[in-house]
């Protein structure tokens, strides 16, 4: 039987089991790296560096995970903090590496033109709206979970998601016909 995230965390806590932590990394690496790639506007190298930092930081602080929220929510919070600290240092001077970004996307899932416009529209959103939209609409977090990750009030998350969605819908209006 496959262990739950909480079961793996218990093994890390009780036995300092790094294999169990490796399984947690394997389970969540795609979503964490995906989120960071979008937050950094397609800078894959930076996103992967930040993802590594986030997982190492999560391991060091795993005793502070009290199980009140899902492990993934707790991990997203650490991930977002890593990104925010780095963005503060760089003052959001992260450029869009369009060519590499496009190469990484799956060409069969979304029409290439739509994908390009969607990613471009997403990258144009202000950081607070982009983060809220990515967490809630793409990664499936509830507004409450996103509020915990972003450390902002629930109402602010709802507003940011609403505004972000509206902007994306306007930009992509032609595709939705």
């Amino acid at each position: 039987m496959e262990l739950t995230d909480a079961g793996l965390v218990a093994r890390v806590l009780v036995d300092d089991d790094q294999h169990a932590y490796g399984e947690l990394v394997r389970r969540h690496q795609s979503s964490v790296r995906g989120l960071l790639r979008q937050l950094t506007r397609g800078d894959i190298a930076l996103a992967d560096d930040l993802a590594q930092n986030a997982f190492v930081r999560a391991y060091r602080n795993i005793r502070s995970f009290r199980g009140e929220a899902k492990f993934s929510t707790w991990l997203y919070r650490i991930t977002y903090n890593c990104f925010r600290e780095d963005a503060r240092k760089r003052k959001e001077l992260v450029g869009i590496n369009e060519e590499q970004w496009q190469a990484e996307q799956d060409p069969h899932t979304v029409d290439a033109g739509l994908r390009h416009d969607l990613m471009h529209a997403l990258s144009l959103l202000p950081l607070h709206e982009r983060s809220a939209v990515l967490l809630c609409c793409q990664n499936g977090l509830s507004h409450d979970e996103a509020a915990r990750v972003l450390e902002i009030p629930l109402g602010t998350v709802k507003t940011n998601v609403l505004r972000g969605r509206e902007k994306l819908k306007k930009t992509l209006a032609a595709w939705a016909q």
């Binding site: 300092d16 199980g67 969607l118």
Partner: protein
């Protein structure tokens, strides 16, 4: 397209635009960067317990006049009726069994939750 359908369409496209990212050695790189396990501390824990137990045993032996009280108590035990000895042994066994069962259930719950 109504508003709810537009919202669903947008969410679906956003999710499709985030395909699964292959591990490609990422997990191994993370594991290499993890701090080393606290081997020294794990080695110290049983050592401290053994030393403390040995010290406590030695102290008890000295303070009890060479363990004389054990001989006295053993002698007293021989005067207890056999039925009481059997009852005492059964009760002790049941207490140990109950303790072990509770500990096992607690550990199983901890791992499952």
């Amino acid at each position: 397209m109504n508003e709810q359908m537009e919202q669903d369409w947008l969410d679906k496209k956003l999710q499709e635009a985030a395909p699964y990212i292959e591990d490609d050695g990422f997990t191994a790189r993370v594991l290499q960067r993890l701090p080393a396990r606290q081997a020294r501390l794990q080695f110290l824990r049983p050592l401290i317990l053994i030393v403390a137990s040995a010290f406590a045993s030695a102290l008890t032996y000295v303070l009890s006049d060479g363990g004389r009280f054990i001989i006295v108590e053993m002698f007293k035990l021989t005067t207890i009726p056999t039925v009481w000895v059997v009852v005492f042994a059964l009760a002790s066994g049941m207490i140990v069994l109950a303790g072990g069962t509770v500990a096992a259930m607690s550990k199983a719950n901890q791992i499952q939750s």
